[in-house]
Symmetry: C2
Subunit: 600 residues, 2 copies
């Protein structure tokens, strides 16, 4: 049976040594509550919770899946509800929400460590609380006082969960096409009619109420994306005492049968005259949504790290135990019938690739979470704006690149297990199936790539891009004396120039042909991703080297960091050579064929 132990050592290394989180926390009020002891306690208790409660129901949850019952009830897999009850009783949902609504007021970045643990232990389960975050943030940011009073305590405590209802059968990416209608009622509420699909955690038996945030059109709304408004549609109408009253007119018509994340109910919801409440200004729903889109996308980027970590831990254990063939450089385990497969170079290549993605990705995600803290809490407007810029620039890279890389790592997990990887029992194939969704939802890889290159770089005239390059340059300058990291910094420096050159070339080409952006976008994003991950590996290497120089910490752990960084720069980063060449070759051969000729 597959397993997962929370890599507390690495989480601590990233938080403390790479990102100096205590200095960060000392700079804003919510942070000051997250002192070193609090962080340690949360990490340890969180690890206990996910290892005991969530790991054991990951594989069974996949095998059982969710069950839809006539009338629209959804039954989650055995143990899901019980684990959720424990999660709520232990106060985990409220960790990083404001004290005003019953939260613990700790920074979001600390919540991210918990999301990582629970997501790695059981992604399908962790999507239920995950989706609540989105709904909660929406109401925190855009809700009226009454709406806050009615919903936030329940959402923050986890007694109620939330969803985001965007997609309809004919529109996913292109929300401008959406048709769900909201007619004003006499009491100031709205009556919603329409069909939503692909609603994660859209119906379940884990909480007493579900608060849907729904995108819909008012009768007089302009066409397209400028005519979309946001509505709160509770499954049960809240009563005056903070409990639940009558059932609202939103029902689950079916749940999808999917490749993976079987434990999470992906619901088709029918709104048949459901009562809804406008949240935020009319016709500005999409804009309101985007205020926390970055945060939601980091949450999905995290999925890449989660599946990479799961794949790595299990593949590593298997590679140490499975005996098969002898090392080509001579027998390594003479007392055994064959050598453990970890002696074989290609098995090591797969394991190191997984390790590089999981650990480098972790640093990347936590760094973004720190920026999100600053956007939320920084009192200095310049600091806040800079963090917002960095976050906006790096989020599409993180979301697309880390989910693609996480899928690769999950596939290496299967490959290390050989034929056994293809069999359900070992859990490696589930990990691949679960990982596959991450490149699709919250904006596909293609959409992230357009967001990066089209909006965040070209439309922005390179301002954020330049700021990020400055950050990297400053880092390289600051640590140029760290000998063990010098080759990494050197590569990083020249590749930052190459990245700028590549961007310049695409921008030039886009002036003549707008399709040049789309044609370059995914390979450009992947190039950016490999390079950004290299930046985080350089940071990890510097942190490890400095500790080794100072004679601090676990030397084996720190040397493994340097070795993994070296592997990454040597054997993974060169993939940028192919990506660069493809980008520079431009859009012509992509656009030449007429649509009719594809099938010829």
């Amino acid at each position: 049976m597959p397993g997962y132990r929370v890599p507390l050592d690495d989480i601590r290394f990233v938080l403390d040594d790479v990102l100096d989180i205590q200095t960060h926390y000392s700079r804003f009020e919510a942070g000051s509550a997250a002192d070193s002891d609090t962080v340690a306690a949360i990490l340890e208790e969180g690890a206990k919770f996910v290892e005991r409660e969530l790991v054991p129901i990951n594989q069974t949850g996949d095998a059982e899946g969710c069950e839809w019952r006539q009338g629209g009830e959804v039954i989650t897999p055995a143990g899901f509800k019980e684990a959720y009850t424990q999660y709520v009783e232990s106060g985990w949902p409220s960790l990083s929400h404001p004290e005003e609504w019953g939260g613990q007021g700790l920074p979001s970045s600390l919540g991210m460590t918990l999301s990582e643990m629970s997501g790695t232990a059981n992604w399908a389960w962790s999507m239920y609380p995950g989706l609540s975050h989105g709904a909660t943030h929406t109401i925190e940011t855009h809700g009226s006082d009454e709406q806050k009073t009615t919903y936030l305590n329940k959402l923050v405590s986890g007694e109620w969960t939330g969803t985001m209802c965007l997609t309809e059968p004919h529109c996913g990416t292109d929300l401008g096409l959406l048709r769900t209608r909201a007619e004003p009622a006499e009491d100031g509420s709205y009556t919603l009619t329409g069909n939503k699909i692909f609603i994660s955690a859209g119906e379940h038996d884990m909480a007493e109420n579900i608060v849907h945030i729904v995108l819909a059109r008012l009768p007089d709304a302009p066409e397209g994306v400028k005519g979309i408004s946001l509505f709160i549609v509770p499954k049960f109408m809240p009563d005056a005492n903070g409990g639940v009253g009558e059932r609202n007119g939103v029902t689950c018509g079916s749940i999808e049968h999917k490749m993976g994340i079987h434990g999470n109910a992906t619901a088709a919801l029918n709104f048949d005259g459901a009562v809804g409440y406008l949240i935020g200004p009319a016709n500005e729903g999409l804009k309101c949504m985007f205020t926390f889109m970055n945060f939601a996308r980091i949450g999905t980027a995290l999925q890449g790290v989660a599946h990479a970590e799961w794949a790595f831990q299990n593949a590593l254990e298997y590679a140490r135990e499975r005996l098969q063939m002898r090392s080509l450089t001579g027998t390594k385990a003479p007392d055994k019938a064959a050598d453990p497969i970890i002696v074989h170079p290609d098995v090591r290549r797969m394991l190191l690739t997984q390790k590089a993605i999981a650990e480098g990705g972790r640093a990347f995600i936590y760094f973004l979470a720190i920026q999100a803290d600053l956007v939320e809490h920084a009192t200095d407007e310049a600091v806040r704006e800079e963090a917002d810029q960095v976050l906006g620039f790096l989020t599409p890279i993180a979301k697309a690149f880390l989910t693609e890389a996480g899928f690769e790592a999950a596939n290496h997990g299967v490959q290390v297990f050989g034929g056994h990887g293809y069999v359900r029992e070992w859990g490696m194939e589930q990990n691949v199936r679960d990982a596959r969704i991450a490149m699709l939802y919250e904006g596909t890889t293609g959409i992230q790539a357009l967001d990066l290159l089209g909006r965040k770089i070209l439309l922005d005239k390179g301002v954020s891009f330049k700021a990020f390059r400055k950050t990297v340059a400053a880092f390289c300058r600051e640590h140029r004396g760290v000998k063990a990291a010098a080759p990494f910094l050197r590569t990083l420096r020249w590749m930052m120039l190459e990245w700028a050159y590549l961007t310049f070339r695409v921008g030039l080409s886009a002036r003549k042909n707008k399709d040049a952006v789309g044609a370059a976008s995914v390979e450009y994003l992947m190039y950016s991703g490999y390079l950004t991950l290299a930046f985080f590996w350089a940071q990890s290497a510097v942190a490890a080297a400095r500790k080794l120089e100072a004679g601090e910490g676990d030397a084996d752990f720190l040397n493994a960091k340097l070795d993994t960084a070296a592997f990454y720069f040597d054997r993974v980063l060169p993939r940028t050579r192919g990506l660069k060449a493809a980008v520079l070759n431009g859009p012509d051969t992509l656009m030449a064929m007429t649509a009719d000729h594809f099938g010829r």
Copy 2:
């Protein structure tokens, strides 16, 4: 619901225009039966059969899977048995087997087109007849006259099916570790005891008998791979009249629950004193197996093409119909709510990548099948040997590269469908799950890579490699006048030099460190694969250009070939830049970390 239409136009183009199959068939006796009319009739009838009988049970077969029943019976999904009965009644199994045993005596390469069609229509189903080929070839090649008389008619007619029983719980790649024992009995037969796992088509209800070819050890056998012998172990003992008699002591203990190919029973077989018959010389079982290993591996390489074609056809249809967003270069479908997604450059990139893999892969596979014909039938020993050399050299490339590329193409299929691709209904996620096995069985990608670089290149001192380079060089020379293909030939020529240089560098590095081979192997193989596929795209481009020059054929079809070739050289082949860089960076960073430090 997903669908599949046999791409007869492309199959004909590859056979007739790229590979000039009729000239090939005119050169040996079995070939002479495959005249143009026969080929046409078989392709058309084959297409009808797979489209009518196999396509409709592909998705239902996945949903139902196989059922194991107490006592060891296995029930295949609804319709599988009926389709098999029709297949047998139509005489398809006997197509390329010798007339002596009731076969039609047609060339194996023609059988490969049928395998492609049935495999694309329904890979899980097509594995049942597919496995029979292996067993049949073994008995044809190594069986005694009595064994041939007893088994071949039944196998060739398809009344009985066959399996290959290699893997055991503790050994897959490393067959030297196998433990199944064969004790001689007084009547000249053997008594087999042991457990085999992962036996594809190992038990089912589709045929009256199953003939297992089993790898086992004689009591006095030397240790390791030199002590393995081959045995025929029938499920039911054949009786004197060519029917089936008593049940033999081989039973199916369970079937695996797998990621995909649910319609194919992957059996755990228990041999409890089963009666077996030695086939081929004692202790030379592995050598005997390898005589048709190339053929089996081409059959798996084909799986990459199958899943790429399936993904391409369905994604293309979806991309033409799904409306989402407007083209960045201006509205393309003003009468519709949005443009069909095929206007978006990144969707085109995915579709063209699929097309390049499916069609280029088809040419690659058929070329190998032609070499296999020559190995089987050529009367000129020099011709036979050359074909054997080419086949041996290219097979690991085809097996590993095409299955990896096919998996990528299958994943693009999901991606083009967006969230809908993740839902079972559309069939795209099944295609990914089914495709995933191909990189594992018949030797993993890593094993193929070692076979290519270690055995087929370095041990062979580059003889086959050089011969293949000469073939490519001769092709480039012969067609240097074809203007439309000139840029492809130019790229091909210099990359063949680069490939030789890369090989030289790895060879040099391997002299100092044997791990250099394993460390370079997979990236080296993928480099070789991209380049070999480029060779087949160059051939297709030349064939298309020549027909266009001559004013023959369907100009749209031929121009689409040239456009796809251009896309492949421009946007896919550059991936070799990254692979080259990784290979040249050598094994050091891969081997530096001690096994203990991986988990630190």
